[in-house]
Symmetry: C2
Subunit: 148 residues, 2 copies
Amino acid sequence: MGCMTMSSAKINAAIDNLKSVGVRITPQRHAILEHLIQSMSHPTADEIYKALEGKFPNMSVATVYNNLRVFKEAGLVKELTYGDSSSRFDCVTTDHYHIICDSCGKIVDFHYPGLDEVESLAESVTGFDVGRHRMEIYGVCPDCKRKH
Amino acid sequence: MGCMTMSSAKINAAIDNLKSVGVRITPQRHAILEHLIQSMSHPTADEIYKALEGKFPNMSVATVYNNLRVFKEAGLVKELTYGDSSSRFDCVTTDHYHIICDSCGKIVDFHYPGLDEVESLAESVTGFDVGRHRMEIYGVCPDCKRKH
DNA sequence: TCTTACTTTATAATCGTTATAATTAGTCTA
DNA sequence: TAGACTAATTATAACGATTATAAAGTAAGA
């Protein structure tokens, strides 16, 4: 199936990326990566841990955190920190923003051309060397709107 | 001095605001509010706690957290959650964004007209009812640039 | 095979924040 | 002003996400 092939290709690309910087591919790392790519969501470390405990009954939470850090350092994964208790992790594909439901917490990807203008204005006003920015949009998702 | 007067005015306005919604003005609340307004920074709860322990040797950290919540609910204060461990608190004056130094962590206010366009596009693409957004810009501040 | 460095595991520690219960202090009414 | 009611503060414990530590396991190279 098309989706399957897509995922496999992404996983292989990610693995090649990791290998090229000298990171060993352990079964745990493979599984975490696979889950991140296939889940199409933005799971927390604990959600990943729970999702894989069937396959790896002895895996430690620390392993999940350690490897998420490894993936982050390799540029494969981004950590999303919103106000709530725990971080979420997002596979880096293309640049995009997130829109978050205030009611149910759902996170949806959302593409928007560029806010280069904002960055360059910030640069000239503050004297910073600007490198990047983050933005989240908040609102109520269609499902939650219906429920009112 | 001008600054002093400005601060006092802001504090009084904030206090009136709180009184009008039935919040008692205790010495601790007054001090926390005063510190938030006068410090011109974006302190953590612990920084506020430490800054006031001279005046209130018996004040509990819980009091700081409780009152920051009260102020947030009254719309006087915004909680800023970045990737790092603890929240920072910002007096709500006018709408503005923050630019953050990747090197030293300094947070500088930064005004930018409106990103209404982004919000409305997000609305039409995702079907959400959009309420608000947040954005932070990251870079290296002038001081840190000089030190390299 | 031996050695070395890396990984995982299990467990404990850390730290920001929140909950609890007891005490204290404001505010209102009589 | 006294008494009563409610809210706020304090001290302390609990919680939960994350990180540190040490021991055991595993892969790769000489």
